[in-house]
Symmetry: C2
Subunit: 204 residues, 2 copies
């Protein structure tokens, strides 16, 4: 589609770099922004720019944060002896949304994936091991591995477990099984198999 | 969803003001932008800001333009005696994409809609009438009404036709009929009816 203006074309090209946004949606965004006030458009532009200038990683757990140490790591209400290891920031949000976890996190920023050129030193595994080793007086008792159930996730689980075994810390992983509300008929074979093998005492 | 950072929250709130973008898509955009370089993020922010600062309306046809007079109005290759009246900028792009029209445009910026508070002086009808009246030496021979087939579009067509009738200019409207490639079975009744009433000589 031929656009009547270079400025509009540039904006459409830029907006269509966003994930899942094609040229048509980008044009819709641009024409919407044209109808907004200068203040609204500047607020959007500033907020996008601030992502790169004002946002940092928590130096303890590597979650996104406005401060050098994130609110979860600096909270006195969280259990400091449990660390949940996740792949990325979205996973922290997903677990927080359950309101079932009171411990701390460690965001790896990826999983080991030789095919994508991600090795053990490209993600935050060394800092996790250091954190568990040097955790006195906040001794870490348990590391929960909450990585994806892919080959890369399993490899990362295996490597982390091996690195942590000298420290004697308890390493656990998320329960896998049939989802709440799912019918057995539609559960996939591997999940159903694991939920039988890993059956738990009936809790009335 | 609780976000770990104020800066991220602001960006998500701002991005979710875009049409059709919810909080989840906005978060996806923000996390994508975090992985971009500073240069890429600044380019996006600048292009959005430029929409408000560098873009103007063509003073002849009211299409979006980088210059006071748009490339279509200033082109020597366009037929200056035909003006196609459309509701908005997207309609110009749609007609241009057909490559079937060599005349000029007039963008109304809306249609008459008393229920939305849009009266005859809120859209560019007066400037259209002036343009046709004062078009010497580029006399306008024909005005093509290409407005939507809604009650508002029909009202606007009627009003424009009435305003233009003293000038003696030829006023035409788009052909309505069964779409190319459509089967009659699935054409709506009104369209099919109009295509029978408005049948044209067979052109082998």
């Amino acid at each position: 589609m031929e656009l009547p203006s270079e400025v509009l074309q540039t904006a459409v090209d830029q907006l269509s770099t966003l994930p899942g946004v094609g040229k048509r949606s980008a044009l819709r965004f641009a024409l919407h922004l044209l109808r907004c006030t200068d203040g609204e458009v500047n607020a959007l532009a500033d907020s996008v720019r601030a992502l790169k200038t004002d946002l940092c990683q928590c130096r303890v757990c590597h979650n996104l944060s406005d401060l050098p140490v994130c609110p979860i790591c600096s909270s006195s209400k969280r259990l400091r002896d449990t660390v949940c290891v996740v792949e990325n920031v979205q996973d922290v949000m997903a677990i927080e949304a359950t309101q079932q976890y009171r411990g701390l996190y460690h965001v790896l920023g990826g999983v080991i994936s030789p095919i994508d050129g991600v090795g053990v030193h490209d993600i935050e595994i060394d800092s996790l091991v250091d954190r568990v080793k040097n955790a006195d007086p906040d001794a870490v008792n348990e590391v929960i591995l909450a990585l994806p159930t892919t080959m890369e996730g399993d490899t990362t689980n295996y490597y982390i477990n091996k690195q942590l075994s000298p420290t004697g810390v308890k390493v656990t992983t998320l329960a896998r099984g049939v989802a709440v509300g799912d019918s057995l008929e539609y559960a996939d074979r591997i999940t159903l198999g694991r939920s039988i093998v890993g059956r738990v005492p009936f809790d009335a």
